[in-house]
Symmetry: C2
Subunit: 489 residues, 2 copies
């Protein structure tokens, strides 16, 4: 399998495409820009969903479901919102097909909608139109709601997981009585995303604020988490928006406060998507195939028996059975791969390629010696160890792999991050990739010029770390602190 994979050093983009297809994660469908998420890919996404959903609920959120369709006029109600999304909207205009003697099945011209419906590119408008009916008084606030859904943003140039016309995501939409509470919620959810990225995906992220030009259409402030991929490009992994009263004003959502006065409601929205699948792959995987952090691996441990007869196979199954039981009791997913139509070597390669974190191999000699061979996917190291307390050892090993992947990714990011003071140096350094900390004068003109000349964008103004003033690398004007530039996915 791995021999079918382009090497990262040869062509990183091709390596990614090969891997997504050949590890059975996703494929392009015949429908322009839409992907099919295959079972192995979907199983990883399900684990991401479960973890995130648990974190949302632990922070007081509940799930709900709002319509797929948004009337065109709703989208138009918030001016900058419609401007941001108008160019990528799939539009439903009819509601019936009919048979035509000449052309076969055609769209029935008599079934034209009075008002066109947009497939949601995001749901602020339909949700705030609904919230108007739900919020009357301060007692109805805060409203902390999340939705798991599909959305459509018509894209001309697509890449599996990273940029597709239809994608899966969650979108939180919360309503608050005060600006402070809404800002607090925006940052709380940013923290949840950062924690998820680091603890589950083993992917270190930088928390920051977007510049005005990179803000969500309709937001007052967009917070984000940014990660560095192996090829030196940055990837925005999640965003949390402070929407001010923009949508409350557009949809007339008022509440009676404790002083019995009418006020517009304050809003946030926040989302992560199947794009995280792309981030996961780009962060950890290697020329041997996929590497999945144990906490997100659908199959955490695989047992490959090396048997020459049915009797040996049965003996190995009996030998390992108590370990399987003990692992399952710990909530660890494990499978004995006893498919007798495949050779052990084929199985080794297949599970390695698909990213199973731990492999146990057992042959007749292992049974004699009371041992097994343990292989870890992250380092490809193998060791022969005693079968005694194996489940405990594996539990520790899975944690060690999770930690190692994070540390490795963190070391990669640190090696790939540097401070630069002059624009000449910047232009050099950006060619090698990585995150660049540089001073910027705060103007959209300078930001646009850097983008135009170097293809690098300001990923964020980081929240953590010191903010030492300086001079803009381009214009020499004062800067409040370094911001992060990078070329990005």
């Amino acid at each position: 399998m791995a021999e079918l994979l382009t090497k990262r050093s040869t062509d990183y983009a091709q390596w990614y495409n090969d891997l997504v297809l050949k590890a059975d994660l996703a494929e392009h469908s015949d429908v322009r820009g839409c992907m099919v998420i295959k079972p192995h890919g979907y199983a990883i996404w399900e684990r991401m969903q479960q973890a995130l959903d648990g974190m949302f609920k632990a922070t007081g959120h509940v799930n709900a479901y709002f319509p797929l369709f948004i009337p065109k006029s709703y989208l138009a109600k918030e001016a900058s919102h419609v401007e941001g999304f108008a160019k990528e909207c799939a539009v439903v205009t009819h509601y019936r097909l009919k048979s035509d003697p000449v052309h076969g099945v055609i769209v029935d011209p008599e079934a034209k909608l009075e008002e066109e419906l947009i497939i949601r590119p995001t749901s602020e408008t339909i949700i705030w139109n609904t919230y108007r009916g739900w919020i009357k008084s301060y007692r109805d606030l805060p409203l902390l709601i999340n939705q798991w859904a599909n959305v459509v943003r018509w894209e001309m140039r697509t890449r599996l997981f990273l940029r597709t016309a239809e994608f899966l995501w969650q979108e939180g939409h919360t309503a608050h009585a005060t600006k402070e509470e809404a800002l607090e919620e925006t940052r709380r959810m940013l923290d949840v995303y950062a924690r998820f990225a680091e603890e589950w995906m083993a992917m270190p992220v930088i928390k920051g604020v977007k510049t005005a030009s990179e803000r969500f259409a309709g937001a007052e402030e967009t917070y984000c988490i940014e990660a560095l991929m192996q090829d030196g490009k940055a990837l925005q992994a999640g965003t949390s928006h402070f929407l001010g009263q923009n949508f409350a004003k557009a949809f007339d959502v008022l509440f009676t406060n404790k002083e019995n006065k009418q006020e517009h409601v304050w809003a946030t929205s926040w989302g992560v998507s199947t794009r995280l699948m792309g981030a996961l792959i780009l962060t950890h995987s290697d020329d041997h195939g996929l590497i999945i952090p144990p906490k997100l691996a659908p199959l955490q441990v695989v047992v490959v028996p090396i048997a020459k007869s049915e009797e040996q196979m049965a003996a190995i199954a009996a030998y390992i059975e108590p370990v399987l039981k003990a692992l399952r009791a710990k909530g660890i997913t494990v499978k004995l791969d006893d498919d007798d139509t495949r050779k052990p070597g084929w199985k080794f390669a297949a599970h390695e390629f698909k990213g199973c974190p731990v492999r146990i191999a057992i042959g007749p000699r292992d049974m004699e010696n009371g041992t097994v061979e343990l292989a870890r996917r992250d380092t490809l190291e193998k060791q022969v160890i005693e079968v005694i307390d194996l489940a405990d050892k594996i539990e520790h090993l899975l944690q060690a792999i999770q930690d190692n992947l994070y540390q490795k990714a963190l070391a990669m990011r640190e090696a790939g991050t540097r401070a630069v003071d002059t624009y000449d140096e910047f232009k050099d350094v950006i060619e090698a990739g990585g995150l660049i900390l540089a001073h910027w004068d705060g103007t959209p003109e300078t930001e646009a010029r850097v983008k135009e000349e170097t293809k690098a964008t300001i990923r964020c103004i980081p929240l953590d770390g010191e903010r030492t003033p300086g001079r803009c690398m381009v214009t020499g004007k004062p800067s409040a602190g370094r911001v992060i530039f990078a070329r990005a996915y």
Copy 2:
């Protein structure tokens, strides 16, 4: 709350609508035919999903995700399929909006799709078009895949949960090497649905086969589970289809069998939807509000303190804390409702209305006596019991409520089912509602006549029970056995 609810005996349909709205389960959106599933409704649906998903996985299925959009030409490939769905298709024709100086935001006429896209009403066509690339040999079979998704079937007359333009569902799509295997899968999933309905929803169902006229568009055989609602109408709660080789032929899906010959693949599909929410409500709830079987209740136990001071509230919280812990350790969801802005009476009514299965009330005297007051939602019975071993007692009570709801629904169905031998009697009996077992000559003509004259349809030809031949109640022609007639949702 309950006083806002129309009585079932006054207007059953209105009672249902009131309840769905006032118990915060769902509401109509401004988008024609689409509903908003509110948090309380969605929380019940999530529990249904979890239970079903577990059952699907336990029977070897995995999840995946296929595109929302179906090219019009795909839908047209299976003749009876397109005929069945053409009249209710939402059609995407454009992919961009633009600003117009006169009309504001308009659909950009230059962004017209070459081929229109249909929002999936069901995914057989897009999935079988994909399976062509996945299935080459008998070794790739069976393919056991499920998808959780939203679908759209344009409906003119909608009712919350029961019939909406957009709804949520799961659709299983499996591929097999032989007809026998596919038929076995069709029945296996029917059994899964029946087990879910009975064990989780506490809703007894009859397993059966649809007549040709009620078959899924594109199926060779449609199996179903049918339930009887409190108002005497039947409700189809799930279907499992044997699709033969129809879709494999329409999409050229061939495999090499063990004899090295090319054959078309055999298919099944099966689905249940948010319609089950309607079935759940219509089966159990009463004039006091919602009744949710404990296994599906988002909140299984609520504790209402009856305190006159903050000290008393704190004392009650301390008194019940070990019980809360013990309940949570058993995986039972419980909440201490310590909101001091609401009176106990208000809370009693609210939790009763929203269907919480068990309520614990605690006042100062209870603490003196070492007791609590326990109220069960299904019978509205109250009893004062000792706090010792309370968690165990509640665990048993929850099971007793689950069992009682099933037995009550079963008794209702049995009372509502009768055998009828003449068409005159049938016309009388059908007015009272219920399931009618009657002989039918097997012709679509007779079936259509009964429907036309009585609004009753053949719900199914039951799979279980004896099949004693007789004579058709309408034509007197021979019948192989009684079938089930009813008016249906």
